[in-house]
Structure formats: C-alpha cells, structure tokens
C-alpha cells in the first residue's frame, strides 16, 4: 500500500489485512504496550486544511504509538493563510523529509493531486477531502461492525448496514458504501431526496426515503451528521421536520433487532439526527468508534511505512 486515497483502492485482501493488523495493534494497546517501535525514524506530517479534532488527534496518536515523528501542520496560522499553494507547501514538506502525508482538505481530489503530481515521494493518506471520501473512517466503521457482529474476524458478508442522513455532502457515506461492499455487506442509504447525490442510483446500494421502513432487518444504523450550514440551505423545511422523519430516537431504536448497533462518525448534533438518550444508550458504539479509529490508523500507517519503500 503506497497511498490510501479512496476506499475503492482497497481490494478485499487489503481491507482484511488492515482490519487484522488493527486487531493485533489494539490487542498490544490493551495489554499495556504504550509504544511500539516499527516506525522509528519515519516522519508523518498531518496536513490539515480543514478543522478537525478527532481525525487529527487520532492520526497523531496512531503515528506516535508506532514511534514515528509527527509534524502537525494546520492551514490556520501557517503560510497557507498567506496564500501559499498546495504545491509549494508539498515541496516544503518533501524538503523536510516527510515519509507520509496525512491530508485533510476542503477540496475533493486534493489528496489525489498531492499523491500523483510528483511533488512528494512519500505516501499520502486521505483524511477527508471535500464531499468525496474519508477512507480511514470507513475502515474504523468496518472494524467496529466486525467486532460487534462477526466476533472480530473475517469479513462482513450479509451484514445489513443502514446509513441515514446527508449523503449528498458526506464523504463518510461514500467511503463506507465502497468499503462495505468490498467486504460483502449490504448497504441501504436513507435520506431525503434533496440530500442524495446525483448518480446515486449507480452506487452499489439500496436507496430509500423512509427511515421507519428501513429499521427492521438492519444490523447497524449509521447516523450521519447534519451540518449546520445546510440547515438554512433549503434541503429540508426545518430541523424539527428533519428530526421527525430522519432522526434516531428511542422509539425507533427499540424497533431495531436486539443485536443491532447504532453508529455515528461524530461530531453529533444531539437532538437533531440522534437523540441524546440514543447516543448514550447501550447500543451506541460511538465512543468505541473513536478508540477503534486509532487502531485502524495505526494499521494503515504500519502497512504503508512499516516495511521497505518499494511496495
């Protein structure tokens, strides 16, 4: 694995290898090993053009637990705010000897450009680009699903995953549809028609406008965040109506099968797409997703940087 730009880049074997590696790394952490040695002497740059708490911290923790040197670069307060281009920033990082660049960017395709323009020789990890993809989120979701529904082994064959909310602007949904299909799961998107992307009928999943009709038979329900800036943009009449039709509350949660889990990539709008009592319930695995995120990102960095250069 040289780069991780899209969940579609991962073959079935690649995806299983990331999940299995994450499992061993998580077990090392559970057994009290705070720091592992394989990335000693490697430099990982976190290049964040967009605000992010959990993803950046998660990548930073992952790289540090593998003994890599970490350089955090955020657009705010850097030469980017003085108008430096992605290219010049990339050339600077190359000159500093970055072995991998983890990039979050508000433009879809920025990681692809960074990986393929010949500016840097290291690997590139997409940590979320515009409304395009967020492959490590999909991997941590798959890891969480596998832990709860498949005993932490194998793939996700015939697991029914329902993804609810703003699919149009969601890089999490796109990456999840791709990866979950690779792993054999069955995905259903539930969203108001205005929040479905153009061309969604060609995606490898079912699409529905009706949450209530989609609850039974779901093994997992993944709620997407409704971004505040969308609330006034006429995608839906008002937040109350959205919450009524597409929010996950206790009544709806109780209609799920007994083993079904509730997921959310965070940050949550409590009371909007998910009610507070659902978010804090036994079925909610939201805090676990965050912990799993570190293990999965460790696995990605280990597989990219833990061996020889020529992969």
């Amino acid at each position: 694995m040289k780069h991780l730009l899209s969940a579609a880049d991962l073959s079935y074997e690649d995806a299983i290898s990331v999940l299995d590696t994450a499992k061993q790394l998580a077990s090392a952490t559970e057994q009290g090993v705070g720091k592992l040695p394989p990335l000693r002497g490697r430099t990982v740059v976190n290049l964040f053009y967009e605000d992010s708490t959990r993803t950046r911290i998660s990548f930073e923790a992952a790289a540090k637990r593998l003994s890599a040197d970490v350089i955090n670069f955020s657009a705010k307060g850097s030469s980017v705010s003085k108008g430096e281009s992605l290219k010049d920033t990339a050339l600077t990082l190359e000159a500093m000897g970055a072995d991998a660049v983890v990039i979050r960017h508000n433009s879809s395709g920025a990681p692809h450009r960074l990986a393929n323009a010949g500016w840097i020789s290291g690997g590139v990890v997409n940590a979320g680009d515009g409304t395009h993809e967020h492959p490590t989120q999909a991997l941590l979701d798959a890891y969480t699903l596998r832990n709860h529904l498949r005993g932490g082994e194998g793939d996700l064959k015939d697991v029914n995953v329902t993804i609810v909310g703003d699919v149009l602007h969601s890089r999490v949904a796109r990456s999840n549809v791709l990866l979950l299909n690779t792993l054999g799961a069955k995905v259903r998107l539930v969203s108001p028609p205005t929040l479905l992307p153009y061309g969604v009928e060609d995606w490898d999943c079912e699409v529905s406008y009706d949450l209530d009709a989609s609850l039974e038979g779901s093994d997992a329900v993944m709620m997407l965040r409704v971004q505040r800036e969308r609330m006034n943009a006429a995608y839906f009449p008002n937040s109350h109506e959205y919450s009524n039709r597409y929010g996950l509350n206790v009544t709806r949660m109780n209609r799920l099968s007994e083993t079904a889990i509730v997921m959310h990539p965070g940050p949550m709008n409590r009371g909007m797409e998910i009610s507070a009592d659902v978010a804090d319930s036994q079925r909610s695995v939201i805090v676990e997703q965050v912990a799993n995120g570190v293990s999965v990102r460790m696995a990605v960095l280990y597989l990219m940087l833990g061996g020889s250069e020529s992969m």
Binding site: D20, T21, Q24, P38, Y302, G306, M311
Partner: protein, 184 residues
C-alpha cells in the same frame, strides 16, 4: 538415492521423534527449574506458540499443576523490517499472571541467526521484567549471528546456509515433521 535429488527435501524428524524430543525438553525444564511455581512459557508465533502449548501440557503432566503459557509476536521488533514490504502481525497473548518477576522460557521452532530471539527479548521487555529468561528450541541449526544460545535444545541439526529447515506441526500444517530443504 541421495536426498539431493528430492525437490521437497528429506525428513530429519518424524512425528514420534518430535514427540520424544518435546517430552525430553519438558523433563529438562522441570529438572533445571526445580518445579518452579512461577514458570511461564512464551511461544514465538507461529509454530513456536504451538510448541509452547504442547510443552506446557507435558510439563503440567509431570508437575501436576497447570503451567502458564502465552505467545509473543516479534514482527515489529525485527531488525530487518525495512527489507521487505510490511509484514502481517501475529497475536501476542500475555497470560493473566503477566511476566513481571516470572521465570520465562521463550519457545521457538528453529534457532538460526539468533535475531528472532533478540527481537523477542525486546518485545518481552515491553510487558515487564522477568526474573529470568531462558530459551527452548525444537531445532538448533547453527549459524548464529548474535551472542545467543539455547538453554534447551530438542535436536542439534548441522546444516549448510543454502539449506532451509522446515518445521511442520499438526496444528498449522496438518503433519508433524522437520525437513531439510535445499533453497532454489
């Protein structure tokens, strides 16, 4: 009829040889450790872990008390990580008693350069400070590159560097045997 013409190599230990060697190792361990109650066997995956389990059973039959057995993966502690694409990680299982202050015996199938054992000592130190660490191997084939030796050896097997010692175990390979294979 020399084995040079056999592409799959030739068998040097069969199933009953392996079983006898392990029984002898178990007795040696009991004798040298004087039935110590803080004994922990740590196998190096893949095959060392199976051997540790078998040895643990044999020792506990001799001593009449259960033996603590675990596994320690050394992949991330290897000194040749950069020479190949990233390797798959294998399970590490530290027994509930831990390894702090214990008499730890590392168990592996083949002792060759000694580099695996060096890595295992590093990996072990992340989990605590044993009172004593010893090494038991099924086969010692020589050609050491580090100042490391085994305390318990199932079989000393003089080999050439162009040969490969292949240990197969029922748990992993469906058959118990040790073969010498010429590397192509």
């Amino acid at each position: 009829m020399t084995h040079d013409f056999e592409p799959q190599g030739h068998t040097v230990l069969d199933s009953s040889d392996i079983s006898r060697a392990l029984t002898r190792l178990a007795h040696e361990i009991v004798e040298r450790t004087q039935g110590a109650s803080n004994l922990t066997l740590m196998g190096i995956p893949t095959r060392g872990a199976f051997l540790a389990t078998r040895l643990g059973q044999k020792i506990s039959e001799i001593q009449g008390n259960p033996i603590s057995v675990g596994a320690i993966d050394i992949t991330m502690y290897r000194d040749d990580l950069r020479s190949r694409p990233a390797r798959a990680l294998l399970p590490t299982t530290i027994p509930p008693e831990g390894i702090e202050g214990r008499l730890v015996i590392l168990v592996d199938d083949v002792l060759f350069s000694g580099r695996t054992i060096r890595a295992a000592l590093d990996a072990l130190s992340e989990h605590g400070r044993p009172e004593l660490v010893q090494l038991a191997v099924l086969v010692d084939r020589g050609h050491r590159e580090l100042p490391i030796r085994a305390d318990y050896v199932g079989k000393n097997l003089p080999t050439s560097r162009t040969e490969k010692v292949q240990v197969n175990l029922v748990e992993h390979d469906g058959i118990d045997e040790v073969r010498i294979v010429r590397e192509s």
